[in-house]
Structures are given as structure tokens and as C-alpha cells.
């Protein structure tokens, strides 16, 4: 069943169009930076951008920082929100279930396919970022955010860890959207519900008055992957972020499972 879901994902035009758009955004930013040669002042704008003009090898991380706040989670929420509700709306859910595909098995296959999408998107963005960055800005030894130099091996490892951390954060988004997808028969409503949660969380994270709840908000530690490029790596937020996402993933996946396996399929 997992293979079937992956095949459906990869044969769907929407998958490739959305990933192409995701990769296009950092490319556009890079072209503007290269043409104008004006970088944001350090400390402003998306992470790493102030440093990429000197070294294109840092651009994959910068590209992730550009798509992470909004574009990537929206794409993941749309794909995950579509997972069950989309089948329900198309009427194919009933045929899958009587084929028969067990409900738990179907949910797992959908989750794997959503994760494959998120990872594919993150990797394409990182690879495009690397290609564009080194072409436009040239490459050199990768400096850490703290100013020291990183060896190529260490830099690659940290980039891979950053991709995994972002992927884990996106799994949190996917879990929420997947749960909503089992609740409603409208993929749009499921995606919108998940996005609403993220926007709310984003607003509260930026608000000083809500400091007391901030450690529990899903988007609070998303950008902590930047800490992977410090020397030494600042692990505090990374660990908290990983644990917090783990809780969101566990709770919402359990809710999705409990709801879907006991639900009347009337679509």
C-alpha cells in the first residue's frame, strides 16, 4: 500500500508543480541579491542571507530559512489535508477500504507519502539552493554563524541534520493536517484548519504578552535549525524543538488513528 501511495504522489502533477514553486522562491531571492549586490544587514531578514553574498555554499541553509516560515508548511498542510479527505471527496476512499485496505494501513501509507513529499521538497530546495548559491555567489570554505570555519565534511553533516530537523518539524504540521483530514470530507477545510493553527502559533510566538505559552507553540522552535550552523552547536532549542514536535506528532497521529478507525465512511 505504501508503494501505491508513493506512486500516486509521484504521478500527480500537483506534487511537481508545488515543489518547483518551492524551489523557485529562493532562486528569485538569489537573483535579486546577485544583481543588486545588496544583502540584508546582519540580524535582519531571513537567517543566513546577510552572509550568502560572500559564500554561496551557505545558500542551501538560507533557502530553507526562506521557505520554512510559510511556503513549506502551507504546501505540507495542503498535501496532508488532502490525504484522507481528498480520497473521500473523490469517492475513492470507499473503494480503497472495500478493496480491502485496512484503515490503519491506509493511514500509515498516507503518512509515509506525506513525509516523502516533505522530504523531497526540503531536499530539492536545499539542492537548488546549493546550485544557485555556488553559481551566483561562488563558493568557499563554509563559515559558521559564529565566525569560525567549518570543514566540508562538518558542513555537509550539519546541512543534512538541518534538513532532518526541518523534516521533523514538517511532520508535526502533517500530523495536525492528517488528523483534520480524517475529520472532514473537504480537503480544503483540513488544510485550512492546519494553516490556521500555524498562523495563530506564528502570531503568538511574535507577541511578548504570550510569552507564557510560547514554549508549547508548534512553530516556536522551527528556526532553531540555524543553531546547527553555530560553533559549537547550540543544542538547547534544537532538543526542545525536537521533543515538542514529537509530542504534537504523537498526539495528533493517535487522534487521527482513533478517529479514522472508528468512523462511518459515508462519502
Amino acid at each position: 500500500m505504501i508503494a501505491v501511495e508513493l506512486r500516486k504522489l509521484l504521478r500527480r502533477p500537483r506534487t511537481w508543480v508545488s515543489i518547483a514553486l518551492l524551489a523557485l522562491l529562493p532562486t528569485i531571492v538569489a537573483v535579486f541579491l546577485a544583481v543588486s549586490d545588496v544583502a540584508p544587514r546582519p540580524g535582519t531578514g531571513p537567517a543566513f542571507l546577510s552572509a550568502v553574498l560572500d559564500n554561496g555554499a551557505l545558500y542551501p541553509a538560507a533557502a530553507l530559512a526562506i521557505v520554512l516560515p510559510l511556503f513549506l508548511p502551507v504546501a505540507v498542510a495542503v498535501v496532508a489535508g488532502d490525504a484522507i479527505a481528498g480520497e473521500a471527496q473523490a469517492g475513492t476512499l470507499r473503494y480503497l477500504l472495500v478493496r480491502p485496505v485496512g484503515r490503519t494501513r491506509l493511514l500509515v501509507a498516507k503518512l509515509v507519502s506525506v513525509m516523502a513529499y516533505a522530504l523531497l521538497a526540503v531536499v530539492v530546495v536545499a539542492v537548488t539552493g546549493y546550485a544557485v548559491g555556488t553559481q551566483l555567489f561562488g563558493s568557499g570554505p563554509l563559515p559558521s554563524v559564529s565566525g569560525t570555519e567549518l570543514s566540508t565534511g562538518a558542513a555537509t553533516l550539519r546541512t543534512v541534520l538541518a534538513v532532518l530537523y526541518v523534516g521533523w518539524s514538517m511532520l508535526g504540521v502533517a500530523a495536525v493536517a492528517l488528523f483534520l483530514s480524517t475529520v472532514t470530507d473537504s480537503p480544503l477545510a483540513a488544510a485550512l484548519g492546519a494553516i490556521a493553527l500555524l498562523v495563530t502559533s506564528g502570531v503568538l510566538v511574535g507577541l511578548e504578552a504570550s510569552a507564557s505559552v510560547q514554549p508549547y507553540l508548534p512553530t516556536r522552535y522551527w528556526l532553531a535549525f540555524v543553531d546547527l550552523f553555530r560553533d559549537p552547536v547550540l543544542t538547547r532549542d534544537l532538543v526542545r524543538g525536537t521533543a515538542l514536535q514529537g509530542v504534537y506528532i504523537a498526539v495528533f497521529l493517535a487522534a487521527a488513528w482513533a478517529n479514522f478507525t472508528t468512523k462511518d465512511v459515508t462519502s
Partner: protein, 298 residues
């Protein structure tokens, strides 16, 4: 093949299916009739494990509704549905790969056989969204037949088909049934059920109001329609058994059309036709059911 016992489904305060006892035997062509909104679809969905009963039990192929039993059931529920940007073949291959049973190497053969059975073997690579309603219906049937099921559960299978298509589907179902497939056909079209089924069940407002052999609802009524030009002569001869008189014939109460005919012809009445009347399924069903539940009257 299917046995339900006290099957009940309530949605809040609405009882969609009420204490339903249904029996479909191996080799049956079972027609499941009922007006719109009578609970047919909810029942079919419970048989297939899509809707969970509030109370009561379903026994499918002698077992629980689950992975092992559903693998031997082919179904078409409330119209076919496909991944619309893929071709019919690609859809069947995905469906075949999604569930248990069958090897990967024989998948192409299974798909081609199913397409051939429903008359779609020449179909090209167009995506399903470009198919006509009839083609989709055939493809849905192909998907149901893909695994050579022992039981076919079909909900309005001839929807959207032209008269030729309806005939082809009926012949296909008859042939499959001859080869041992049990057919459960849910429909609100009496004519379709009458033409295909051996046993029927009639549902009304969630309750089974009639169940039995089709033949027992089509018993002779004991009336014979006699068509003749000599109406006056016939009435004079037969006397009180004449129930009704038409310009071109009479309706006679008689248990033996042969003797009736001999008597008429012997007396010189020119008989053009003799039609023993049978009860129609329609009359039996209308008698057993009330108004359609989608009717909203004050």
C-alpha cells in the same frame, strides 16, 4: 453468503436501518429493492464494513466483515470513482496493487481480462476524467470484477448506461452467476431487478417488508384476459365469471385457461388472444411500501 441479524443503524435520533434480517445464499441473484432514502445504501455500506452498525451483526461469506472476507467481494457503491488524471488501466493497476492477493507478474493479465469482460479492452490512454458516464460505469464494474470475487455487491450498476449497455451488463452478470458468482444487486429500478434476479428483498423506511423468491410475487391472479371481436357472445356464454368487459375483449375469472379456451372456441367465439394475468412485482412492492421517503409533503 450474506446473513444479517437484527442489523440496526441510528444516526442520532434517525433510524436509517431498523432490525434488518437479510439472507443471501450462495448462487443467488439477489435484488435489493426500496425507494430512495429507504436505507439501501446504508445497509450496503454496513455489509462492506464502511459504516459500523449501531447494533446487530453481519456475516459475510461465513465470517466477519474484514480483510479475509472482503478480499473475495467485488463492489460498486453509489457510482464508480477513480483517480481522474490517470487512465482506466492505471487505475485498475493501482487498485489491484493496493489490496491483498495475486502476484505482481499476473497483474497485467488480470487488468486486461477485467477490461475485456466489461467491453473496455480497446480503451486508450486517455485519463478517466475524459470518459463518458457509461465508460466510467463499465470501468467501475471492471474494478469490482478485478479479483474474480465470489460475491458481487452492486449498487445501481446500470446507472448511466444506454439500453445496449444495460443489456450487456445484464448478460455479463448472468454469465458470472452461471459460473458461480453470487450477485447482490441493489436498485430502485423494478424492471432491472425483475429481469435479473431470482430472489428479492424490499426495504422500506429501514425495515425489510418483503423477502423471498421472485416467482412468489408473480403468482397468477386467477384472471384471464380474453381478446375477441365477439364480446357480446362471450359474455352471454360465460355469464357471472366475467369480471370486466372491454370493446375488444373480456376479463374472466378462471383457473384453467385451456378449458376456458376450449369452451369459447367450441361455442364459435373467435378468440384472438388469451392472457392469464399474473401479479406484478410492482404491485407487490407498492403494496408493501408507503410513500417514498424523499417525498416532503405537508
Amino acid at each position: 453468503m450474506i446473513r444479517t441479524d437484527g442489523l440496526t443503524k441510528r444516526y442520532g435520533r434517525v433510524t436509517a436501518v431498523d432490525d434488518l434480517t437479510l439472507e443471501v445464499r450462495e448462487g443467488d441473484r439477489f435484488g435489493f429493492l426500496g425507494p430512495n432514502g429507504s436505507g439501501k445504501t446504508t445497509t450496503v455500506r454496513m455489509l462492506l464494513g464502511l459504516v459500523l452498525p449501531t447494533s446487530g451483526a453481519v456475516e459475510l461469506l461465513g465470517g466477519r466483515v474484514g480483510r479475509a472476507t472482503l478480499a473475495e467481494v467485488g463492489a460498486l457503491v453509489e457510482g464508480p470513482a477513480f483517480v481522474s488524471h490517470l487512465s482506466g488501466r492505471a487505475n485498475l493497476r493501482l487498485s489491484d496493487a493496493a489490496g491483498p492477493g495475486g502476484t505482481r507478474s499476473s497483474r497485467r493479465r488480470r487488468v486486461e481480462e477485467a477490461l475485456e469482460q466489461v467491453g473496455l479492452d480497446g480503451v486508450d490512454r486517455r485519463p478517466v476524467r475524459a470518459y463518458s458516464l457509461g465508460m466510467r460505469q463499465r470501468l467501475g464494474l471492471a474494478a469490482a470484477l478485478l479479483r474474480r470475487p465470489r460475491l458481487l455487491v452492486l449498487d445501481e450498476p446500470t446507472n448511466g448506461l444506454d439500453p445496449q449497455g444495460i443489456r450487456e451488463v445484464r448478460d455479463l452478470l448472468l454469465e458470472l452467476n452461471r459460473q458461480g458468482t453470487t450477485v447482490f444487486l441493489s436498485s430502485h429500478l423494478l424492471s432491472e431487478v425483475e429481469a435479473l434476479c431470482t430472489r428479492i428483498g424490499v426495504l422500506d423506511r429501514g425495515r425489510m417488508v418483503l423477502q423471498g423468491e421472485l416467482g412468489q410475487f408473480q403468482q397468477p391472479t386467477g384472471l384471464v384476459q380474453v381478446l375477441t371481436d365477439d364480446v357480446a357472445q362471450a359474455v352471454a356464454l360465460l355469464g357471472p365469471v366475467v369480471q370486466e368487459r372491454y370493446p375488444d375483449g373480456v376479463l374472466v375469472r378462471s383457473d384453467d385457461p385451456v378449458r376456458l379456451n376450449a369452451a369459447l372456441v367450441g361455442a364459435g367465439v373467435r378468440v384472438r388472444a388469451l392472457n392469464p394475468q399474473r401479479r406484478t412485482l410492482e404491485a407487490a412492492v407498492l403494496e408493501a411500501t408507503g410513500d417514498g421517503t424523499d417525498r416532503v409533503s405537508a
